[in-house]
């Protein structure tokens, strides 16, 4: 008798336990063993079957149909982003970083105005075969907020992302600062790199963002690029797919897609656009690797410069200069002895020359100089330097001026 009483008590307890699981039997979140026990119990327990039916009724009563719930405006997301953006700015302990961060895309952009910088970029753009947009309407709609990539900030250091390179480049024409570009090169997956460059300028009323995704093989050889940026590329998205000894360049705008297949004029191919100075950082990085592997350390490297936004490719050579080069930190600071690389884009009298200044110890690109050249409109050289490393400024010391 005692056994039977216990058995009944056990079953009662089991019934209650399984009855309590019914809500989650219904919503499908039970563990497999719980689900199986409940299912078996339901087969012979009418009380639980009725209970389950009632719970189903409760569930159905609670279903919020899509047309029942309020439909929210798109503006709620924008407003929320504005609020969180404002909060991070208010709590940011570093004013300098705040200046760089600037959620520029949340603010209406002013019309692009001409300035020396704009003319210079326009000149380079023309040289490279494309024209910069001259007003906001021609630039087109900015990408949607969630399609944008967060620009570089110091917070990336605390971020479990694989940041390979990060820095800020300031472009000066003569001694006037024209633009500032923050860039981050991060590794997304093996061989999949994301370069984000944000260009800000007081002189150029528009601010630009160039986002590039590079797929590389094990030898750092690019397999494909995609690029997007509202200012630099006039709202167009450029893409490159590399296929053996040719590349397919694609330019996508709201209205049309243009393709062109161009032969590669040297190996490896690199991407180049003079408005995005961080391209040179990548170029230098690639060159350092190639020279490290080369038998002749003074060998001239040959690249194929891909200029997708102009749908063309050009030869690019890079060689080391033997001339001693010295950079000066700040107006009267210490001097740095650096390596100088000479880049030449194109051939003959139309070729464009750029000098790269590289720290000897670790191959970091510290500065760039674009000398005055007949095909460029500027009457002063363009100097670009890593302002995050040298906030006090960096310039070419007098005894290095004009050296080639």
């Amino acid at each position: 008798m005692a056994n039977i009483a216990r058995q009944l008590a056990d079953e009662g307890e089991s019934h209650r336990q399984l009855q309590e699981l019914l809500p989650w039997y219904l919503n499908g979140t039970l563990e497999p063993d719980e689900r199986e026990k409940t299912r078996a119990h339901l087969e012979y327990c009418a009380v639980c079957r009725r209970e389950l039916a009632e719970l189903e009724g409760l569930q159905q009563a609670l279903v919020v149909a899509p047309d029942e719930a309020p439909q929210l405006d798109e503006s709620l997301l924008d407003e929320t982003l504005r609020r969180v953006g404002a909060q991070s700015q208010a709590t940011d302990p570093k004013p300098a970083a705040r200046l760089r961060r600037g959620w520029g895309w949340l603010k209406p952009r002013r019309a692009f105005s001409y300035s020396l910088g704009a003319i210079l970029l326009l000149g380079l753009g023309t040289f490279l075969g494309f024209t910069l947009a001259t007003n906001r309407s021609a630039v087109g709609l900015p990408p949607l907020p969630w399609e944008r990539t967060q620009e570089t900030t110091h917070q990336f250091f605390a971020f479990p992302r694989d940041i390979l390179l990060q820095g800020t480049l300031t472009t000066e024409i003569g001694s006037r600062a024209m633009a500032q570009e923050t860039f981050t090169l991060e590794k997304l997956h093996e061989g999949d790199l994301l370069l984000t460059s944000k260009i800000e300028s007081d002189k150029l009323a528009g601010a630009g963002e160039a986002v590039q995704r590079l797929k590389l093989d094990a030898n750092l050889r690019p397999l494909s690029y995609t690029i997007q940026g509202p200012l630099v590329y006039g709202g167009q998205q450029a893409g490159v797919t590399i296929n053996g000894d040719s590349a397919e360049l694609t330019l996508t705008s709201a209205r049309k897609v243009t393709h062109r297949i161009v032969p590669l004029l040297g190996q490896p191919p690199v991407l180049l656009d003079f408005s995005v100075m961080s391209h040179f950082v990548l170029l230098e990085r690639l060159a350092t690797r190639l020279w490290a592997k080369a038998t002749d350390k003074n060998e001239t490297l040959h690249f194929s410069a891909l200029i997708p936004q102009a749908l063309r490719a050009d030869t690019l050579t890079l060689k080391r200069s033997n001339n001693p080069t010295v950079l000066r930190v700040g107006p009267e600071g210490k001097v740095l002895s650096v390596s100088r690389y000479l880049a030449q884009l194109g051939q003959g009298k139309d070729a464009l020359h750029v000098e790269l200044f590289v720290r000897k110890s670790d191959g970091t690109l510290l500065a760039l100089r674009i000398p005055v050249q007949p095909q460029l409109p500027s009457t002063e050289p363009v100097f670009v330097f890593r302002s995050d490393l040298f906030p006090q400024g960096l310039s070419l010391a007098d005894n290095s001026q004009g050296a080639k």
Binding site: T29, L81, V84, Q155, P160
Partner: protein, 202 residues
């Protein structure tokens, strides 16, 4: 059943949000929009409050993303925030509008209304609406357990996480909540078998 984001992708989005990536945050915002709006709508039946609570929840997600340590699914963590926002809203509203709450309760309590419904062989939609109104009268913790189970599709372990109680408590809460719900329905003049009727599609 709510559609869920892939939990791994979601955890990544949470990490990126912690690092102040607005793009990742925007993805979370969109991913949770339908789900949280249904959650708040069921509780408030107020369009503005729903939008506001949803926005407040997401802003808290942004502010506290760094404190998310992966001990539970991101969705459980987010719903925990949403639940506390809803509680705050109810408390504030209760204080401010006690009189209107009482008026509503009186109206619901009118026996004739219920009798009419029964006599008129109330349609399924009306029954659902009665059940929802009855649900609003349940103690807060019981109501939340029911909504998280049936509207949000959480497991009892996840609900325990959200409500900060033991899994056993969650189970017994629903068990008692359902019993109380039937009593409320009867108190409204209904038969008390409306849940069963709804499930039969009457």
């Amino acid at each position: 059943m709510p559609t869920e984001m892939n939990p791994e992708g979601e955890a990544q989005l949470m990490e990126r949000t912690a690092a102040r990536d607005q793009r990742a945050f925007a993805q979370l915002f969109r991913g949770y929009q339908r789900r949280l709006i249904a959650f708040f709508w069921l509780r408030t039946h107020d369009r503005e409050a729903t939008a506001e609570l949803f926005q407040e929840t997401m802003i808290t997600v942004w502010q506290r993303a760094r404190t998310f340590n992966g001990h539970c699914k991101p969705s459980t963590w987010v719903l925990g925030i949403a639940y506390r926002k809803a509680l705050e809203w109810h408390r504030a509203r209760h204080k401010l509008q006690l009189f209107s709450h009482d008026a509503e309760a009186d109206r619901l309590g009118e026996p004739s209304t219920g009798q009419d419904l029964v006599q008129a062989q109330a349609g399924r939609e009306e029954l659902c609406s009665c059940v929802r109104r009855a649900l609003a009268q349940l103690p807060e913790a019981q109501r939340a357990a029911i909504e998280l189970t049936f509207e949000q599709g959480l497991s009892y372990r996840e609900i325990a996480e959200v409500l900060g109680c033991s899994p056993g408590t969650v189970k017994s809460r629903i068990f008692y909540a359902k019993r109380t719900l039937k009593e409320i329905l009867q108190g409204m003049g209904l038969k008390g078998d409306e849940l069963w009727q709804i499930s039969r599609g009457s």
